[in-house]
């Protein structure tokens, strides 16, 4: 009996030990959370160097864009420990800072000699700072991104089309510099037959469920003069959000949707827009710059067939900022390891490799390097675009603000209800309510 008990005790001890061993091994493991997209694959590749150097195993939790915000904001709000590092969307900064989800990085940056002046200024404001334009840093700029355009260079270069276009519009068919030009090109290609197939003018963002149509419409509205609020008096929106210029901008976006998009474009965002371009449906495509490396590599539309251009200008010249910063989650048990990853990621040689692999570095030494503009066919368009970025509200209540804009803009542009003036007046009303609820006005 005693022998049996000892044997059982030994077995139990062995079992306990064996179950504890994997935990010991996992002490040097970090989990990084991000969206499931092409740059994430590049980051997996890049992070192998970090693992080789430090012996830390990198685990990745990638979630498709459609559920990215839901999944990770739930994780942060429930103080989950899944993510040690998170590459959170630019709009999350306000809420994540105020709700204590992210570790404030100022002291760490000072200690490690990481200077925010070394990064593209717009990305520091967009991805790292809260409150905006104050030296309070909650993330390191990780993935620069901006809405721009791709076009079918091979179609634009066809002599017969060039001739016809010149005769019709009086200027050479080329990447547009203004929105009037963009619309003329889109109209020119709309329902045109090319190689026996009907093609269309442009694919633009119209998605209703998450943030699609807002990212697309603001991209255009900024150029007409839309502003989120009075630069001299925060949260004063009347006359800025719904200014006559903003109204004209929204009317233009609707006219572009009505005249020149493929049939069934009522719910288009990043994936659908890239698909429309890849399948040879459209002459031009609005999309975030992260899609450009993949499209350039595409066998059917990439290589010499594709061209890139930044958002055209109108009264002003802006482009909608995308992209994200990398942050340390304050609920992580491995904050020191996570900070080490950020320290490693901030190094110039790692950032250079990040760009090579398909990520979009925000480090000045990379993007301002002499050979950068020629390093990829889309590098110049990326540089030009990053120079003109503007972002959506990054307030803690950004989601409510976003929902209101999604509804108002989709209602007017896609559903065709009411006027642009009514849509923007309604938006001012909705946003005022949100800020009143927040006690900001």
């Amino acid at each position: 009996m005693q022998k049996k008990s000892k044997a059982l005790l030994g077995l139990a001890s062995a079992l306990m030990l064996s179950s504890a061993l994997p935990n010991l091994a996992k002490a040097d493991e970090l989990t990084l959370c991000w969206a499931a997209w092409d740059p994430a694959n590049a980051l997996v590749e890049l992070s192998k160097d970090f693992s080789a150097k430090t012996g830390t195993t990198m685990k990745f939790e990638f979630v498709p864009w459609t559920s990215y915000a839901d999944r990770f904001l739930n994780e942060l709000n429930s103080h989950g420990k899944l993510c040690d590092l998170i590459i959170g969307d630019s709009q999350w900064i306000g809420g994540s800072a105020e709700n204590g989800h992210y570790v404030k990085l100022n002291d760490f940056f000072d200690k490690e000699g990481i200077k925010m002046d070394d990064f593209v200024p717009a990305t520091v404001v967009g991805y790292s700072e809260w409150p905006k334009n104050t030296p309070n840093y909650w993330a390191l700029p990780a993935m620069g991104d901006v809405v721009g355009w791709t076009y079918r260079k091979d179609w634009f270069e066809r002599p017969e089309l060039k001739k016809e276009f010149k005769e019709k519009y009086g200027w050479d068919l080329a990447a547009p510099k203004t929105y009037d030009q963009l619309k003329q090109i889109a109209e020119f290609f709309q329902k045109r037959e090319i190689d026996g197939k009907t093609v269309y003018g442009a694919s633009i963002y119209t998605e209703r469920g998450s943030e699609g149509i807002t990212m697309g419409a603001t991209n255009v509205l900024y150029d007409w003069g839309f502003q989120y609020d009075n630069p001299k008096k925060p949260y004063e929106m009347e006359g800025f959000v719904n200014s006559p210029d903003a109204v004209k901008g929204l009317e233009f976006y609707k006219s572009l949707y009505d005249c020149c998009t493929p049939p069934g474009s009522s719910n288009v965002y990043m994936v659908e827009s890239a698909d429309a371009f890849k399948s040879g449906q459209v002459a031009m495509q609005m999309n975030f710059a992260f899609t450009w490396p993949g499209l350039y590599k595409d066998e059917k539309v990439g290589g010499d067939r594709i061209g890139f251009f930044p958002n055209p200008a109108e009264k002003a010249h802006f482009a909608q900022l995308g992209g994200q910063g990398i942050s340390v989650v304050s609920y992580s048990d491995k904050k020191d390891g996570a900070l080490q990853y950020i320290k490693w990621f901030a190094q110039p040689d790692v950032q250079a490799k990040w760009w090579e692999l398909g990520g979009f570095s925000c480090l000045n030494s990379v993007v301002n390097a002499p050979g950068f503009a020629g390093s990829q066919p889309y590098a110049q368009a990326f540089l030009d675009s990053m120079a003109i970025v503007k972002d959506f509200w990054a307030e803690p209540s950004y989601a409510s603000l976003l929902q209101a804009m999604q509804k108002r803009v989709h209602n007017y542009v896609v559903a065709g209800n009411g006027t642009a003036q009514e849509a923007l007046d309604g938006l001012v009303k909705d946003w005022t309510q949100v800020f009143e609820d927040d006690g900001k006005i």
């Binding site: 915000a69 839901d70 904001l73 739930n74 709000n77 103080h79 809420g95 105020e98 709700n99 204590g100 998605e207 209703r208 469920g209 998450s210 493929p262 049939p263 069934g264 474009s265 009522s266 719910n267 449906q281 803690p396 209540s397 989601a399 409510s400 929902q403 509804k407 989709h410 209602n411 007017y412 896609v414 559903a415 065709g416 209800n417 609820d437």
Partner: protein
């Protein structure tokens, strides 16, 4: 019979031998009522934990300004303000109207088509079992699969639905924008829901039709009642409780419709397909207005519970006739 009895007895003996004496002594001291409670208790605890507690918690939250994404902020009571906001919000009323539209039309279509199919299947023609299986397939699919599948079918350029409508009507496929057109999008969802859930209604109606004893029809035949008269005087009244049950189930389900709408239109174009569950989800898990969303959820709960109760009373009256 004997063999199975002896197996049961052996199993009972084995269980009795294995039960520790201390447990045997305790159980022997319990009354039948206590043992009954012992068995029911886990289910009750589970019910309280999963259903009742969250409901009470939601009622409490509906009177506060609580936001789930700001757990450190002070939670303050706001009285009836959340309810006032919900009940005076035009978006909420629009969502309720949209939901009512879906519920009404899906129920009408599913009941009419489902009952017709059940009536035809009940004729027991050659191959009826095969056709029953075929008809049931949509119901067995996941809503996510169905949503994506129909999204492609509705695609104006490559979708089979647009092609079929174009072939029948002569309208160009590019003009058949089921999901992007304000007047067509609600119908696009009603069509999909009807396609998917009519078989469910058919099954319940079939059960009702099969429950009608043959001798009633035989007596009607003797009285020389016409087929039409038999249908209206025997089939419909006797199957009515089953039809009403199907309407109840589908009504409650469609009131909560979420996945299909999200996949097909995301609530658009504009807000024409934004049903109450989507508005609620946006308030609760995107805006994180937890208190207000709780008030909205309670309003919805009361509405469904109240309507269902009235309906069940009507159903009982029909059954008692």
């Amino acid at each position: 019979m004997n063999i199975s009895n002896s197996i049961v007895e052996k199993a009972a003996d084995a269980t009795a031998k294995m039960t520790p004496n201390s447990v045997v002594r305790r159980v022997r001291g319990l009354s039948d009522r206590a043992i009954a409670w012992l068995f029911i208790a886990p289910a009750i605890v589970l019910l309280l934990a999963i259903n009742i507690f969250p409901l009470i918690w939601a009622i409490y939250l509906s009177f506060t300004n609580y936001r789930a994404n700001r757990p450190n902020a002070a939670v303050e009571g706001v009285g009836l303000r959340n309810y006032e906001r919900v009940l005076t919000d035009p978006d909420v009323w629009q969502a309720m109207q949209t939901t009512a539209h879906f519920v009404f039309w899906t129920i009408v279509l599913q009941t009419v088509i489902g009952f017709t199919l059940a009536y035809l299947i009940d004729r027991k023609f050659r191959g009826h079992a095969f056709w029953t299986t075929i008809i049931l397939i949509p119901m067995m699919l996941s809503p996510a699969v169905v949503g994506n599948f129909w999204r492609f079918l509705y695609e104006p350029q490559i979708g089979l639905f647009a092609y079929a409508v174009s072939w029948l009507s002569g309208i160009p496929t590019s003009d058949i924008r089921m999901l992007g057109d304000v007047s067509l999008a609600p119908w696009a969802i009603i069509i999909v829901d009807t396609w998917m859930w009519t078989p469910y209604v058919m099954l319940i109606c079939l059960a009702g039709l099969r429950s009608i004893p043959d001798y009633i029809y035989e007596a009607a035949e003797v009285d020389r009642a016409s087929a039409w008269r038999q249908f209206w005087s025997i089939t419909v009244p006797m199957a009515l409780p089953f039809i009403m049950l199907a309407i109840l189930f589908r009504g409650i389900e469609n009131f909560k419709m979420f996945d299909m709408v999200t996949l097909l239109t995301g609530g658009g174009p504009g807000s024409v397909t934004e049903v109450a569950s989507i508005t609620l989800k946006r308030a609760a898990f995107e805006s994180w207005a937890t208190g207000r969303a709780s008030a909205f959820a309670i309003v919805l709960f009361v509405a469904v519970f109240g309507l269902a109760n009235i309906y069940v009373k009507a159903l009982n009256k029909v059954k008692q006739r």
